[in-house]
């Protein structure tokens, strides 16, 4: 078989394949429910209900989507330049560490929130800067270094939480001291469990969209991603663009840590992120690396997680169904997106 590009794909083709990918994902979910001895329709219904069936459920999904918007943006920025940042998890924790350091008395009100957010971004950017400089200077593959740094960072956080940053009043649990009240992101509406981190995430998405579509950097990022050699030939400073991309990507990932600590948890612990950094890759790919599409994509992914948790409690289908669903959605969707552009021919 051979792939042949299609000059002008029809609308049916551009919608049909992604729709088929979605249908296949739902089919996989139904089969999984069947193997767990549950009714597929009831299971899917419970996932939907758990994700958006009540005010509580919907707020939970919005809360879960917040860090995913940040990490999804971080990945989409980086992947656009073919910079394979798989280390958003480490960058997230770098942001979280800074948030606790500055939010427990070091920076006074009213500076604490803006300063913390900025320094957190800087910390995340620095965590990614290392692997990127190794890539641009020595040609070390950034996939492996960013992946390995995730493990190092988690061990570092574990050390901090059992040593220098341990909460003296934490009854021996490895968690940090709580943030001061003025260092917390307030709720958007009093009484509703949704904090300003969510609006910040929406704002970040718009900002990234502006950078990508309206600035020189955005143009350069795309040029580097499409063909670094051609970009260099056209006078784009490829390595400088990669470094700038990394700073932006690492900073965005760190905001996920800032928002989770300052908005939701109020302290740092080792279970702050159930893999938001990795899930951000799925969010970004489902959004086809479009920053504005990251928002609905993150909502969808968050909904699958929140809905599956609640379904699991009711129907007894293991909650890992969510991860299987997202992995199949990812693989089917990248294939579907390819098939909207190319035709498979024999020979």
């Amino acid at each position: 078989m051979r792939l042949e590009p299609i000059a002008a794909p029809t609308l049916a083709r551009r919608l049909g394949f992604p729709a088929a990918a979605l249908a296949l994902t739902i089919l996989v979910a139904s089969l999984l429910a069947l193997t767990a001895g549950a009714n597929p329709f009831a299971t899917l219904g419970l996932i939907l209900e758990g994700a958006a069936g009540s005010r509580f459920a919907a707020l939970e999904t919005l809360n879960r989507a917040t860090p995913l918007i940040f990490t999804g943006l971080a990945i989409s920025v980086a992947f656009r330049a073919k910079l394979w940042n798989i280390g958003a998890e480490a960058q997230l924790y770098a942001g979280a560490i800074v948030t606790v350091l500055l939010g427990t008395g070091l920076v006074p009100w009213p500076l604490v929130l803006p300063v913390t957010a900025l320094v957190a971004m800087l910390a995340g950017a620095l965590v990614l800067l290392g692997p990127v400089l190794l890539k641009t200077r020595l040609g070390v593959d950034e996939v492996v270094t960013t992946l390995l740094l995730n493990f190092v960072m988690l061990l570092f956080v574990s050390y901090l939480l059992e040593g220098p940053m341990k909460d003296p009043g934490g009854m021996g649990w490895p968690k940090s001291s709580p943030l001061l009240p003025e260092a917390r992101l307030p709720r958007i509406v009093e009484g509703l469990r949704l904090h300003w981190g969510f609006l910040l995430a929406l704002l970040a998405a718009v900002a990234v969209w502006v950078i990508q579509t309206r600035t020189t950097l955005g143009y350069e990022i795309r040029a580097v991603g499409q063909n670094p050699r051609a970009a260099r030939f056209a006078g784009v400073p490829v390595n400088a663009v990669l470094v700038k991309t990394a700073l932006l990507s690492g900073g965005l990932a760190a905001l996920a840590g800032f928002s989770e600590v300052a908005g939701l948890k109020g302290h740092l612990s080792l279970d702050l992120s159930p893999g938001f950094g990795y899930t951000g890759i799925i969010v970004a790919m489902l959004a086809m690396l479009n920053p504005l599409a990251v928002i609905p994509s993150a909502l969808f992914v968050a909904g699958v997680f929140v809905g599956s948790d609640s379904m699991s409690r009711a129907a007894g289908v293991p909650t890992y169904i969510a991860d299987i669903l997202l992995a199949t959605a990812l693989l089917f969707m990248v294939l579907a997106i390819l098939l909207t552009r190319v035709r498979v021919v024999r020979g």
């Binding site: 078989m1 051979r2 792939l3 042949e4 999984l32 193997t35 767990a36 394979w84 798989i86 190794l134 020595l138 040609g139 070390v140 593959d141 996939v143 492996v144 270094t145 992946l147 390995l148 740094l149 493990f151 190092v152 061990l155 570092f156 574990s158 050390y159 059992e162 040593g163 990795y278 890759i281 799925i282 790919m285 007894g316 293991p318 909650t319 890992y320 169904i321 991860d323 299987i324 997202l326 992995a327 199949t328 990812l330 693989l331 990248v334 294939l335 390819l338 020979g347």
Partner: protein, 315 residues
């Protein structure tokens, strides 16, 4: 310092080095085969998980240990087929597909585990492979007992590495595999099927990765638990680079790496371990892998067509 020397002189240390290196050798050979054919397989971490799980659950269900190894290999090859189909004929991003396969294989293992054992907090144990003393060699004074009293899977790991080296460098198949990883267009014009060779490499390579995972449950820990692969797959990718895509050097890298790992575990029990935080010791394998990548960066002989999809009719 005397602590370190004491450790290095103990036979149990060297036995541990060989043991720790074994799963890494299987998985590193698997990744090396994929990459020599031009395909980066980031599914390795998840394929090791599904191998660990499948091997263990098969034996837990009452099958013989070697059935467990076979089942693990089969499961790995299945996920390898998925990876190969998406990355080779369709030429999709090897990064994205690899990470997707890792997520899929990991979550499938966890889902199945929870389905079969819903309430269990500590996973049931199986009887793992027993140690086999090789007659003669294991009687050599000094390191003989340490090096030649290992489980059969350990010996298998070294045999696999040898066979991989022979196939890659001494057979027409190996030549063809290297050709599609270096210059697929030229290989195709010689009448080789780039698609078939690359897919075959990814499928067989994934099978080996899964056996590496199965080593953990069938030869090392006797049961399956979450997070047990713990980044070993990513370390193996670093080992392939460290070994400059050559089986012999990659085995040496795995042994060196295992030596550091065995050393850090033992150092934790010494006065040094009482001063330094244990997390630093646990981070050593990952930091060492990064260091290895940096040291090798200048000399790395990357297969020229690594991560480059090949589509007939395109030049």
């Amino acid at each position: 310092m005397t602590d370190v020397i004491d450790i290095l002189l103990s036979a149990t240390f060297w036995a541990a080095v060989i043991r720790i290196a074994s799963p890494l050798i299987f998985a590193t050979m698997g990744e090396l085969i994929c990459e020599r054919a031009g395909v980066l397989n980031l599914g390795i971490e998840g394929i090791m998980v599904i191998g660990a799980f499948t091997g263990w659950i098969t034996v837990y269900a009452g099958m013989p240990l070697w059935f467990g190894v076979g089942a693990a290999m089969g499961a790995g090859m299945l996920f390898g087929l998925l990876h190969a189909t998406l990355t080779v004929p369709f030429g999709l991003s090897q990064h994205v597909v690899g990470l997707g396969v890792t997520l899929l294989a990991t979550s499938t293992s966890y889902f199945a585990y929870r389905l079969i054992l819903p309430e269990v907090t500590s996973p049931p144990k199986i009887t793992p492979f027993a140690e086999w003393a090789i007659p003669g060699l294991s009687d050599i004074p000094g390191l003989g007992p340490a090096l030649f009293t290992q489980t059969p899977l350990t010996y298998a790991a070294f045999v696999v590495a040898g066979v991989t080296a022979i196939i890659l460098y001494r057979t027409p198949l190996g030549l063809a595999l290297r050709a599609v990883g270096e210059n697929p267009s030229a290989a195709a014009s010689q009448g080789l099927s780039v698609t078939a060779l690359r897919m075959g490499a990814v499928i067989v390579g994934s099978g080996l990765m899964a056996v590496g995972g199965a080593f953990l449950t069938l030869s090392a820990f006797s049961s399956f638990f979450f997070e047990m692969v713990n980044g070993r797959g990513w370390i193996c990718i670093a080992l392939v680079v460290f070994g400059a895509w050559k089986p012999g050097k990659a085995v040496l890298g795995a042994l060196l790496f295992a030596a550091f790992d065995a050393l850090q575990v033992r150092l934790q029990q010494t006065p040094i371990g009482a001063v330094l935080p244990y997390q630093l010791f646990l981070a050593m394998p990952f930091l060492l892998s990064i260091l290895a990548l940096i040291l090798m960066s200048r000399r790395a002989e990357v297969p020229a067509a690594l991560m480059q999809p090949f589509n007939k009719g395109e030049r």
